[in-house]
Subunit: 349 residues, 2 copies
């Protein structure tokens, strides 16, 4: 199988290197091909997502993605900014399902700002829709009737878009505790009301799943009050962006959290990336935590290569390294990125 490696900006290359080392150590006969993306690609080619990079991503069996974002390019027009590459790959590859697990590894309780009773045993999955919502609707600038500058973005979902992501949520719940919480803002938004209607209609196909609905403001509150009361959350692109970053804090560090972006439950063309960003402030210093990237590689094994055994080997190796006290700076330790990678590799049995 061919793995496209897109390291990107900031700490992206550093953490992706460690994830690739772990995949190589498994000796599965994987091929790797690397290409620039984000600010790094803009620098060499004037575009954040060069056609060759997109072609490679489409051709590969899976994409291992680092991070994008570079303050030097924030003033560029939107389609030239690093973020455009990430949004472009998601859309072009049809990666509508973003799976974001938030798990508290034993030993990291003290790294979170929440009390132990709120996060003990934390094991949530946020299923976020990734190619619709206000992210991809019509948007622009115009002058209104009074000649004032106005910015606008259209939020919308159609029933097919809601159905396919809700199905991922229901299927995920089926494999876990059979509890699904759908998050929306149906008391204000028509988009959310359609979302809620469709999810309710589908629930008759999943009588064994206990479905609840929660408004997004309440969900943000409950994710602070008692995060470990959640199991599977399904929500739209914008709310999922906010809630999954928030939930990451319950896991000790955003440096621990992987993600998968899929166009089907399993199979080709998934993209795997840490949920953290490019962290320009610590880029190039060898300080970044590679665990999120390594755990993303585990998700790659699980979803794109259907190799559950190898996925679990990698996850256990990360847990093992943490159990032995391996910690990067974000977790209160002093290991470098490479040393943390070494610690995980030593546990890979």
């Amino acid at each position: 199988p061919l793995i496209a490696v897109l390291p990107g900006d900031g700490i992206g290359p550093e953490v992706t290197t460690q994830a690739r080392r772990v995949l190589e150590a498994l000796d599965l006969g994987l091929q790797f091909e690397e290409a620039p993306v984000g600010g790094a690609a803009y620098l060499v080619s004037g575009r954040p997502l060069p056609p060759e990079t997109l072609t490679l991503a489409k051709r590969a069996n899976a994409v291992l993605f680092g991070a994008i974002g570079d303050p030097r390019f924030e003033a560029l027009e939107r389609q030239l900014r690093p973020e455009a590459a990430l949004l472009g790959i998601r859309r072009e590859l049809g990666l509508f399902a973003n799976i974001r697990p938030a798990t508290l590894f034993p030993g990291l309780e003290s790294a979170t700002s929440l009390k132990p009773e709120a996060v003990a045993g934390l094991d949530i999955v946020i299923v976020r829709e990734l190619v619709g919502d206000v992210y991809f609707g019509e948007k622009g600038r115009r002058h209104n009737a009074e000649g004032l500058r106005q910015g606008y973005d259209v939020m919308s979902y159609n029933e097919a878009e809601v159905e396919r992501i809700a199905r991922v949520g229901f299927e995920m719940a089926k494999r876990r505790k059979k509890k699904l919480c759908s998050v929306d803002k149906a008391n204000v938004l028509e988009t959310s009301q359609l979302w809620r209607d469709v999810v309710n209609e589908m629930s008759t196909q999943y009588p064994e799943i206990e479905l609840t609905h929660m408004y997004v403001d309440n969900a943000a509150m409950q994710l602070v009050r008692q995060p470990n009361a959640f199991d599977v959350i399904v929500t739209g692109n914008l709310f999922g962006d906010i809630l999954s970053d928030q939930a990451s804090m319950c896991a000790g560090s955003i440096g621990m959290l992987p993600s998968a972006s899929l166009r089907a439950w399993s199979g080709d063309n998934g993209m795997y990336e840490p949920i953290h960003g490019s962290a320009p402030d610590i880029a190039g210093q060898g300080k970044a935590n590679p665990c999120a990237a390594i755990l993303s590689a585990a998700m790659l094994l699980r979803h794109s290569l259907s190799d559950e055994a190898s996925a679990q080997r990698v996850e256990k190796a990360v847990a093992g390294a943490l159990a032995k006290g391996a910690r990067t700076a974000d977790l209160g330790g002093s290991l470098s990125t490479t040393e943390m990678g070494d610690a995980v590799l030593r546990e890979l049995v």
Copy 2:
């Protein structure tokens, strides 16, 4: 001065009664006139916001609002639901500035799910825009080209709308620690990009204020990691809805948090309400915490009656009651709503 009292649904009447008792005890010669709103109004008149209620709200010097929301009416069409009353008053009275302080009263540290070092000395103000954004844009249902049901909501701001709320943020920062954090999603949304541009343009008028920008996903994360690092946050309607509910958890209980909705920094026609909802599960049981309603009355004194001294008397009375150990169930105690009101009244010196 005339105070319109709109108790609303669920626990609204219970907590509003206590807030009114406190205002009456101050002996300021206030007049009170009560009117139904929300589900309570729908039940008696078939409309959540009867014209007489709106007229009273406009005629009064200030509105003391309880809470709205009643699950019995969730299936009604949008403009008949309780929420329509709240959105209607905000829009009709032009209450564009929603001020939501989140303060941790000494003694409530143990009521929060966050570790003491994350919330010690917490004293944040969230300034939320309240009459624009995706809340009030064009919205509806339609069938798309393929005949699929589609829901849509238009998000937008124009420069005048951004300017007036940003000004409230800057002015608030000026009276506090001179730090303003503007929250948006400018890496994806055009509405946010205009927001950011306008806030940046205005910052030259406030050279003494240290202005920062933060993406909403990051803000949700930082509000868990280190909430007491924030001072004043200014943001749009949707992001403000989510972040202020989230921040409320840092203050121990959503039952502690007041809000003011204003059309000017001070003066008539402000509306004052707890940020909690109608809590149908505990309605009528005398369990609700009236502190948020009482502290909302303090904001009424401050903003609509320009009576800072009385506002502080009320705030000190709440702090005094808490210091003596008065606690409702949400704070781990056993006082009833009325008993908590009594405890505050006893401290009113």
